[in-house]
Amino acid sequence: MTAPPLLVIEHLAKAYRQSRGPLRPPATLAAVADVSLAIPRGATLALVGESGAGKSTVARCVVRLEDPDGGRILYAGEDIGGLRGAALRRFRGRVQIVFQDPHGSLNPRMRVGTAVREPLEVHGIARGADADARVAELFREVGLDPNHRGSYPHQLSGGQRQRVGIARALAVGPELLVLDEPVSALDVSVQAQVLALLRDLQARRGLTYLFVAHDLAVVRQMADHVAVMYLGRIVEEATAERLFADPRHPYTRALLAAVPTPDPDAPPPRLVLRDDPAPTADATPGCPFHPRCPDPRRADRCRVEAPSLRDVGPDQRAACHFADEPAPSG
């Protein structure tokens, strides 16, 4: 990377307290344990993981919807943790978020045109007729008929609502878009439309994307870099090309093996993990993945010593004691 990355996350940590009844002290669940990432300008980094991995928490911290317990986030070199008031609003004008649930993220009592106009008014970008014209333009840009500005969310389809969410996020002219599972709730045929739109917008506007997803097949179409999360930690991070071609962490391999392919001749989705995870509130020493690790090389060392995220190849890092060699065959 020649230019400095646009977004840098350093040792992010966030924990939630879970009540265990009136007699015991609350348990501390680490949603995010120690996450460090960097996204170059104009690139797409996909943050992948299953439910409970912590990726949504990371996304929310990046847009300051939540504040981390530890670590820091740098946007264009500036620590966003201390921003307040006008400085925070300026930050919001540069970093926006598109949510997963297109139905839930739009106020059901507000017309969609008004929802897209709100950021313009709040940031003082435009008012009145000027704002209205910009909203119409945004609608066209995301492939919506501007005549739908007066519609309510329930009158639109899922795909249309998601486009409204994208238009709203684009209204302030951001540089970085955080996309929190933007197509997970959409049908396949609509998914493809929205993904194409996102790629298109990125090219036209020079956007940088933090793309949170659980569907690796979708990620493959969108990402330049991929980071895989498991229980609040990054277990593997690489360019998309390397990750799909030569995954070095057993969890990444398990995820890839589990994805069903619409081809009867392809290998059926297999689960290769051991056990079923009972969500443990207590931190265990050693590799957090070892109770479920299917790798034949799993050893006592894994139970005792937690592997750190380290370089295992050009543009590839993994947190596994055996990541230096490619996956064992068979």
Binding site: R220, A258, P262, A266, L271
Partner: protein
């Protein structure tokens, strides 16, 4: 070979503020004993309504068309009395829904759920029922059944809940299992587990399965035959291999092209333009016409299911007629 389940000319209409919604129209489908049929479609196509119709689980307001016939094991389901219908549900026909958490009573232990279900279909005492419950839990791959029976639903992960739920559906040794998007709410690794379990169970127990899904990958993994639905109608039916190798209907082809795949291109896949129409206003003629790249004049009238191969049918004029007019 007589079919286990026969749906003939099934039509379901719901009243809505915007007029009657013809959610399902003229759907005919047969499932042989031990066969797994995947009913594939996107939201609004009518697949869930079809599945619910089999056990007459539709809301009161739904009306069935006069020609609708549902036969299970030769018996007319629509003519069953209350008690016979109750015995059928969860008995010879088991059903599993999408959200296991919502289907399990949070104040009952897993054991209580199972015992209740077992005793609803078999006159056995509690001890026998409990022993059977433990057996069922082992069948669905839940280790340590003795501890599992005492657990409450919220203490289990999503995958375990779905397994417990499956155990309930299997309690009365059904001959047909209807699974409505059983893995959609689960993580992909758990999904793989449940799919493998379903494939294993249907094989071992000789159970037929009607699997509702929007994911073609899932259909490819477990189905013997695949039926594709669009806008309330079945638009293609074929054995698994044939459907994926030679999809005949443009919608099926569009879905296959649009589906992101790990072994596919890294560019965004081609999308199907447009959106699914509303059930209160299906398009005239072929319902897929507004979104179809191959539409021509003939498509102004709705096509019927025509065969491209002995057991492969599709609802498209291009199957039987060469395209007339300009290309």
């Amino acid at each position: 070979m007589t079919s286990l389940l026969e749906l003939e000319h099934l039509s379901v209409t719901f009243p809505t503020r915007a007029g009657p919604a013809r959610a399902v129209e003229d759907v005919s489908l047969a499932i042989a004993p031990g066969e797994t049929v995947a009913l594939v479609g996107e939201s609004g196509c009518g697949k869930t309504v079809t599945a619910l119709s089999v056990l007459r689980l539709l809301p009161e307001s739904a009306t069935l068309g006069p020609e609708s016939r549902i036969r299970f094991d030769g018996r007319d389901v629509l003519a069953l009395g209350r008690e016979e219908l109750r015995r059928l549900r969860g008995g010879a026909v088991g059903m599993v829904f999408q959200e296991p958490g919502a289907s399990l009573n949070p104040v009952l232990t897993i054991g209580a759920h199972l015992v209740e279900t077992i005793q609803a279909h078999d006159a056995v005492d509690r001890a026998t029922a409990r022993a059977r419950a433990r057996e069922l839990l082992a069948t669905v791959g839940l280790r340590d059944p003795d501890r599992m029976v005492a657990r409450y639903p919220h203490e289990l992960s999503g995958g375990m809940q779905q397994r417990a739920y499956l155990a309930m559906a299997l309690a009365a040794r059904p001959r047909l299992l209807i699974a409505d998007e059983p893995t959609t709410a689960l993580d992909v690794t758990t999904q793989a587990q449940i799919l493998a379990l379903l494939a294993d169970l249907t094989g071992r127990l000789g159970m037929a399965m009607l699997l509702i899904t929007h994911n073609l990958g899932i259909a490819a993994a477990v189905a013997d035959r695949v039926a594709v639905m669009y806008a309330g109608r079945i638009v293609e039916v074929a054995p698994r291999a044939a459907l994926f190798a030679h999809p005949a209907h443009p919608y099926t082809r569009g879905l296959l092209q649009a589906a992101p795949r790990l072994d596919g291109p890294t560019r965004p896949t081609p999308a199907i333009p447009g959106a699914v129409p509303s059930a209160t206003a299906w398009p005239e003629g072929c319902r897929f016409r507004p979104r179809c790249a191959h539409a021509w004049d003939r498509c102004n009238s709705e096509p019927t299911l025509a065969a491209t191969a002995p057991d492969h049918t599709a609802r498209c004029w291009l199957v039987t007629e060469p395209r007339g007019g300009t290309a």
